[in-house]
Symmetry: C2
Subunit: 745 residues, 2 copies
């Protein structure tokens, strides 16, 4: 995999149509969004009516529209902002919401125009605001368009157009630098929004942090060998440092980008189905209620789901594992070199299918759990995805490390159940015979080979799948469509192809828009998942092969750039979303890092000297020693993590400083007001007053002394503080101990 | 210990002076605070000057003063608010600070008078504000009086006067009800401030929660016996539920009392010593800096301190433990029944001394660590206190459970080193002889007896010490003083006793104030510590004796009332402080609960069937089985805790509703404004407009079409949304698939 593949395909290399119409890339016609309206399954009259309603709604919220022909029974509606006032209203609404939730320190100015002049929208924010104008419910001031859903099932997608000139320049710049600077991340944020920027920031931090374990791992590989306790400790410490640093960094980036706290702003899930309606005891508003107990019951289904998933995937993996061991280590007949690939073939064909089925099931389950907010839904879904990924990614290694090695000599003799896989090829029974209990010797290299496969081979394959496969798919699709339209024109097709009806001067632009309409939408979650799974290998198993971080370092340099290319070329321009965290994946990172402290300790104990005892025979594993190692390692881990958390919480950062500065400004303003107020306050019984008002006060005092209230008399005995001081001095004079006593004291 | 002792001593039972002057309790003379000015070791001139300065400063911030004679070379300065404006200024300052830190949702009104009318101060708040007026630095608008410190070392104390009539009524009410209701807690908060209210709220919650384990424990004691795994599991679950519920409850109470977030408002520690001065990068203010690395170095001293404390206390405990076992289980000579108390005597005499020394040392260490804020100081000090308490409270039990029982038969034979303690009394060597290795049989009842001692005897002794000892001390002190003054008057004392110079009508009041000036100040932390240590026994060891919670339930009913009596009678009226949590003790609770999952599992494994194997000989303990039990128990604990946390976080509460209501009010106001704004916005291309401006628009459009900019021409092809809709309909008409295709799809 050379760096060349990261070079963006220049427009000329894209396809014949593009080659001709290069200038289609040069302008976006000032379009903000394109809406694809598909009417293949709707009657003409209904489609027309819906369409009119759609453009009417858009016009109502201040969006201008132009319609053009799309591909295959679809229309392209070009949308641009016509009324800045409508945008301003939405900006104001969004900023008030932010302020209420503590994202902004100060309340937004009510004159939005002035506020926007003071604090102009950056590109991503503008796109986000306009998207909200299109999709927000009408009662919140939006047009209420919900793609693919409900009454708007004709609206296939809403997407923004790529800025190709910028994209080209951007990728060119990136391929030339080794490290992304904070400015680069700011740029991503300004263009693509905070959610994607957080992914890039995370991957960049991870990449930078990897330099240390890569260097240390390479040294350890040369000097310390595998399963070195020193490497294991350093690697665990690194995991703690990285995860905690990233938590710190998230806060900093959140403040830097002005999004700290946005995850608290929850949007209601459209698919939420309420069971009954009630009145909110707080606001008096009507609220839709779904009983929490009922949801809990549904959530409990996650347990059988997780067990079923683990069983299904686990038995597939265990079967393949068993077959592999049988063939590679027991079977001794012909075609062994071919048969050894059998489990890999089974895995690569069956696994994606199973995984797909389980993911669909997880989605259904999450929908069934009926969450009220999008965040809760995503969180629940991410958790399930993590569980599935955990099983498929790490279970094979767990089986090797904690079943095959310690119990290999017990289990392997029973593997002749798998002899039927090789029976057709065996020449005699002896080739299929498992060794008797005790005679089998485990292959200590198996674990290392497996780790190398997962951390090098699989990573490269993955990267290739991400960049090259979609490219080929796109090429094939284009070809297919060209052939189709050729066939149609040969037949003398009834409906004109869209291209024919285009204005000549717009044709290249429209061709390009039709192409972008066909692209996939970018899902930042899948990229994040990939990074988290990768981190898991590092945390859980890198002690097996200390070069793991070196491989990841190289991979991630490419990954960062490949993702940029993917977003620019293979996907629709993503709709900017805000975020102040990488979300539930952060919990997964912490969990993997914690679990790593256990697996690493276990691996180091089990495999020191490759799992062989001092005399070369498989080591005699003592249960209490293994468990004590784990107990000690895990609790040290938790203690150190606690210390690191405290330490890191004390580190200052530009973001935190900015936050404090904002606070300070407001506080100073208020305090200076309150101080100037109190400085003008009168002093009680000021000296000057006493002289002028003396007689008056004396009289009042005397009357007080004669007053019937004990309290009044008590407080009137001394006229003012001077008199108090005087009387006090007298009392001191009388009561003070003689000087000699004082000296003794 | 009967409930009678909780009855408050009525004033008539207090002392002869009080008996005569019962009406001294009836009025506080409208005094807000009393300042004790002591000049025993200062020269007359200096004392007079300082005194004048003191009353001058108080007058400057709007406080009126009266001076009276105190006891033993002291003056009593009575302080009351003279200028409400000054109070208002301080209230405003405090509320702005709260708002900046997010404690208040809305910014305070600048006209404070109106704000205070809208939201009047309750008693505790008023006392707090006035105390701040006296003690705040002058640059923050206070008088800058710092008792016992720096230039104000003559100021011995500042305290408020008890409201005896209320106190009497309050305690009477409490002794008559079984359960404290939220209103009772609100009342404490209104009177004594949030910090003390949080202690009572915590103890009340703990008390209520104890009902369940008490009932279950009693059942388990009857039916399941000791070391029952079922009781262990239920008890661990209860610990999780209680700690997590309390965390939830804290938030609720914080909101209810309007103090949520006050712990974020940090006050600078007066004793903080800076190393250098710098400029804050954020605010540009001068800041005092103490390098964090240097503090870290100093904090590292905690490690040797903890080790030293553990060694010193541990060896004392271990020695006493060894002696006790030697005498009770090996020694067989005369005086055995007396000698057996030897270790208890050593422990009860040496332990408090050692503990005192170590606490002083911990204080010095914490001071040396030089924290910037009071909160950080308190946190560090509390941690050290917890470590000391942990060792003294739990180490004896740990020794019995995890050294004596499993290793008893190995260790005990070596205990004859302690024979010298009994040698003087022994009649022959045989009485001192340790059994040979293997022949010694552990006493399985020892652990249970120890637990009963700690959970019943020690609790009762403790309660007694808290209530009765101070009462006796006070009585003795009064007697001593009476004798002293009698002797002085016999001798014909030189200085008049303060009583002689009192105005007759004030005399009873002043006598009472002098008495209150001598009382101790109340420290809520020591009461909290007591509760946390008690919770520790429950979490760590209650499986040994399931009646533990029953004992605690009874004890805490008394404790709650005894503490109320203590605050009202034996202590000065506490100065109200705010808090939104019980502070670092919460961490201690979590830690103990966690540790409990480990010890309980270990105890259940080690002691099932009293630590005897099926054949009656000491059980053969298998290391791996013990560790596996612990591993399983601990991880189940963590998993369940996580689930409970999620579950509890979803529970709504009145406090949370209040918070949401406040937010909602502000949001609604802003949103209604923004909506009314956007409803007036023009609709793009409204039908009406089109007709009137048609010609004008048409012309503009035509000119646009002729314009040189491609973009302008693109957007001018359709005049408005009606035209877009029309053209769209046309396109649909032409491009729609024939009806038969549609049906197929």
């Amino acid at each position: 995999m050379s760096t060349q593949s990261v070079q963006p395909p220049t427009p000329t290399s894209l396809s014949p149509t593009f080659r001709d119409n290069n200038k289609g890339l040069q302008t976006n016609m000032e379009t903000d969004y394109v809406i694809v309206f598909r009417f293949a399954t709707t009657s003409k009259a209904e489609a027309g009516k819906k369409f009119a309603e759609l453009v009417g709604k858009l016009a109502k919220v201040g969006l201008a529209t132009e319609v053009r022909n799309g591909d295959n029974h679809s229309l392209l509606i070009f949308v641009k902002v016509a009324s800045e006032e409508h945008v301003n209203a939405e900006v104001y609404r969004s900023r008030v919401k932010d302020w209420i939730h503590g994202v902004r320190t100060a309340a937004p100015q009510k004159e939005t125009k002035k506020a926007i002049e003071e604090e102009p929208l950056h590109e991503a924010e503008r796109y986000r605001i306009i998207y909200r104008m299109i999709t927000n419910p009408e009662e919140e001031g939006g047009a209420g368009i919900t793609p693919k859903e409900g009454e708007w099932k004709n609206v296939e997608s809403i997407f923004a157009l790529h800025d190709h000139a910028y994209n080209k320049e951007w990728i060119k710049r990136w391929t030339k630098k080794y490290i992304l600077e904070p400015q680069d991340l700011d740029e991503i944020r300004d263009r693509l929004g905070e959610k994607i920027a957080f992914y890039f920031a995370f991957t960049q931090s991870y990449f930078t942090f990897l330099v240390f374990p890569a260097a240390f791992g390479a040294t350890a590989w040369l000097l310390l060998g595998r399963f070195s306790p020193i490497y294991a400790i350093v690697s665990s410490l690194w995991c703690i440092a990285f995860v905690e640093y990233w938590k710190h960094q998230e806060v900093d980036l959140g403040v830097r980008w002005g999004v700290r706290g946005v995850s608290k702003i929850q949007t209601k899930r459209r698919h939420f189905e309420h069971e009954k309606e009630g009145t909110d005891p707080v606001t008096g508003e009507k609220v839709q209620i779904f009983p929490a107990t009922k949801r809990l019951q549904r959530q409990l289904l996650q347990v059988p789901f997780a067990i079923a998933a683990a069983t299904v995937l686990g038995s597939l993996i265990a079967t393949c594992f068993g077959i592999e061991i049988f063939i590679s280590e027991i079977y001794n007949g012909p075609l062994k070199s071919v048969l050894v690939f059998l489990p890999t073939i089974i895995l690569t064909t069956v696994m994606p299918v199973l995984n797909g089925i389980l993911t669909t099931f997880a989605q259904r389950l999450t929908k069934f759990e009926n969450y009220e907010t999008d965040d809760a839904y995503n969180y629940a879904m991410t958790q399930k995805t993590f569980v599935l990924n955990f099983i498929t990614s790490y279970l094979p290694v767990f089986l090797t490390a904690f079943v095959y090695v310690p119990f290999g000599s017990v289990v392997v003799p029973y593997l002749d159940v798998f002899s039927l896989t090789a029976r057709p090829f065996a020449e005699n029974e002896k080739q299929l015979q498992a060794p008797s209990v005790g005679s089998f010797v485990i292959n200590p290299d198996r674990l290392r080979k497996q780790i190398i496969y997962f951390t090098v081979t699989a990573q490269i394959v993955n990267l290739g799948m991400e960049v090259i496969v979609p490219y080929l798919k796109r090429q094939g699709f284009t070809k297919y469509k060209e052939m189709q339209s050729e066939r149609a024109s040969k037949k003398g097709g009834s409906s004109p192809t869209p291209v024919e009806s285009d204005h000549a001067e717009e044709a290249p632009f429209l061709t390009r828009v039709r192409r972008e309409a066909e692209l996939d939408t970018y899902d930042v979650n899948s990229d994040l998942r990939e990074m988290v799974v990768q981190f898991g290998y590092l945390a859980l198993f890198s002690t097996v092969w200390p070069l793991t971080p070196v491989s990841f370092l190289a991979n991630n340099w490419l990954e960062l750039r490949a993702d940029a290319v993917k977003i620019c070329i293979e996907m629709q321009r993503p709709i900017p979303e805000r975020a102040d965290t990488i979300g539930p994946w952060l919990d997964s990172l912490s969990f993997l890092s914690w679990l790593g402290s256990i697996t690493t300790a276990a691996l180091v104990y089990l495999f020191s000297n490759d799992g062989l005892g001092p005399d070369g025979t498989p080591k005699n594993i003592r249960g209490w020693a293994l468990l004590l190692t784990i107990f000690f390692a895990e609790h040290s881990y938790l203690l150190i993590r606690c210390a690191v958390q405290i330490g890191i919480s004390k580190i200052d950062s530009p973001g935190r400083q900015k936050e404090r500065r904002d606070r300070f400004m407001i506080r100073q303003q208020y305090f200076s007001e309150s101080l100037s107020q109190s400085q003008n306050l009168p002093q009680v019984g000021k000296f000057g007053e006493k002289i002028t008002r003396e007689t008056l006060e004396e009289e009042a005092r005397q009357s007080s002394l004669r007053s019937s209230r004990l309290e009044d008399r008590f407080w009137a005995r001394q006229r003012n503080w001077h008199e108090t001081a005087q009387i006090g001095a007298g009392l001191i004079d009388r009561a003070a101990p003689p000087e000699e006593v004082k000296k003794m004291q």
